[in-house]
Point group: C2
Chain length 263, copies 2
DNA sequence: AAAAGAGGTTTCATTGTACGAAATATGAAA
DNA sequence: TTTCATATTTCGTACAATGAAACCTCTTTT
């Protein structure tokens, strides 16, 4: 179990990345025994033992009450709270306002490794609602969040995202053709917001708008999501409120140049 | 910079804990340069460089756009989402119900290293509200959350928490005497919920109740917090709703034995 | 009650990795 | 241009991290 030294990992410390890999084997709050973990990662039991001891020493994993199982530790919650703190703290009040105004699920997401990553969320209280989870991912090409961000990337950044084989068909309406996607992104750019009308999930809709940082880069997006009927019928009210919110968040991040959009 | 091997760290891997320590130097979404980090932790620049490369290789830290600074990475958000997943997922709908019912801030917290750690939160939309942050900590002895949990610990677990020097006075009303605290905890146990009437923050109040797991251990607590006037005047309605929620969450965690409380 | 089994912990010798030091590159300021 | 400050790379060496195997501890089987 040895990775050859390449340009990319020339300066990485084996023990550290192996320890970090251990954190990845825990799915959804699983509790695992030493042997299970060592089987999953294919490392020697005694090595895994020592790496786990190290992670446990700093609270990144915890022993279960019976002392026989390991689980992810609360230190992760503490540290995660510090990630993108400025953006999240800034966006949250605006998201809350949208949430009470429309009582739909409000999402804040960024683009990470070609996917949309949800970093903040307020759930609708409707019994019939849509909600992913903070920390989970969605494809960019089927979501309003993703399209809202990608529409404002440079050609260089856009190109790798538009590989046809990456535009996976999730529903009848998912855009899978690079050419069509380019036209869609052009439209998103023109009107300042993106729509997902059942492209991810049949019957579910989403309206998303981008957030720009001080350099004018699209660093995140906010969206409202829910059943297509509710979202689309309220579209005329949602869109201006969402755009105003995103414009103000962008402004506070130091963005000024041209205005974000014209509805 | 060498820590002697003791019983506790006999099996820890130096490189791993040092790497994890690097994650601790980032406060509230700070972006730091290599030199700043190496100064803060007191390790050789070139060592820090390699540890950061390793953390970056797995997404636990990220380079800033200019490539000159490091920040905590989004991988932390992903991994944190898996911590205590069962408890949080189970509690959230009940918290949401309390939130819409009373429109006060609803908190979910656990006891970690003698402190209350907030792991989930729904903020009141009142302009005048109280809200800590997910991932932040409070003393146990001044909060309803803390007292609700601690009241149900065994004498062995309770004893170290009751050291007088640990019961720091935060306001006029904070309980700082171990004997008085024992009587307070007895009361909390009897009525099934805890009150914080300005013991943490003058004018702020909080009502908290414990959640028990399948072994009957108090693993968490839910609370409603806000301005004392609102919280205490609604106490008659809040308490039964909160207790019912906590009882149901506990039941779903596998707790059955005796009922949690009698109001 | 003894034996077997399964998993966790400890010891130990050895190797090769992680380390510090110093050289080199990069980039900003003067 | 030089100077300064910081990041990156190289290199030899010490000792940290490792695999193997022994040794616990607890549960299950006979």
């Amino acid at each position: 179990m040895k990775t050859p030294r390449t340009i990319e990992n020339r300066y990485v410390v084996e023990a550290v990345v192996r320890a970090l890999d251990l954190l990845e084997v825990f799915r959804e709050g699983e509790e695992l025994t030493l042997t299970e973990i060592s089987q999953r990662v294919g490392l020697h039991k005694s090595r895994v033992f020592r790496l786990l001891q190290s992670l446990a020493a700093r609270g990144y994993v915890e022993r279960s009450a019976d002392g026989i199982r390991y689980a992810l530790g609360v230190k992760l919650i503490e540290r995660a709270a510090c990630v993108r703190r400025d953006l999240r703290q800034l966006a949250l009040p605006f998201m809350q306002h949208l949430h009470t105004q429309f009582n739909e699920t409000v999402n804040l997401a960024i683009l990470d490794r070609q996917e949309v990553l949800y970093i903040e969320m307020l759930e609708s209280s409707h019994p019939f609602r849509m909600a992913a989870a903070v920390g989970s991912r969605s494809p960019w090409h089927s979501t309003a969040l993703g399209k809202a961000i990608v529409a404002h990337l440079s050609e260089d950044e856009l190109h790798p995202l538009l590989q046809a084989e990456r535009l996976v068909k999730l529903t009848e309406r998912t855009i899978t053709d690079p050419g069509q996607m380019r036209r869609e992104l052009e439209k998103v750019r023109r009107r300042g917001y993106a729509l997902d009308e059942g492209e991810t999930e049949p019957g579910a809709a989403c309206i998303g708008a981008p957030i720009f940082n001080h350099e004018g880069r699209p660093v995140a997006a906010v969206s409202l999501s829910g059943p297509a009927e509710r979202i689309l019928t309220n579209r005329r009210e949602i869109v201006p409120a969402l755009l105003a919110a995103c414009r103000e968040i962008s402004r506070r991040l130091g963005f000024h140049q041209r205005s974000v959009a014209n509805v």
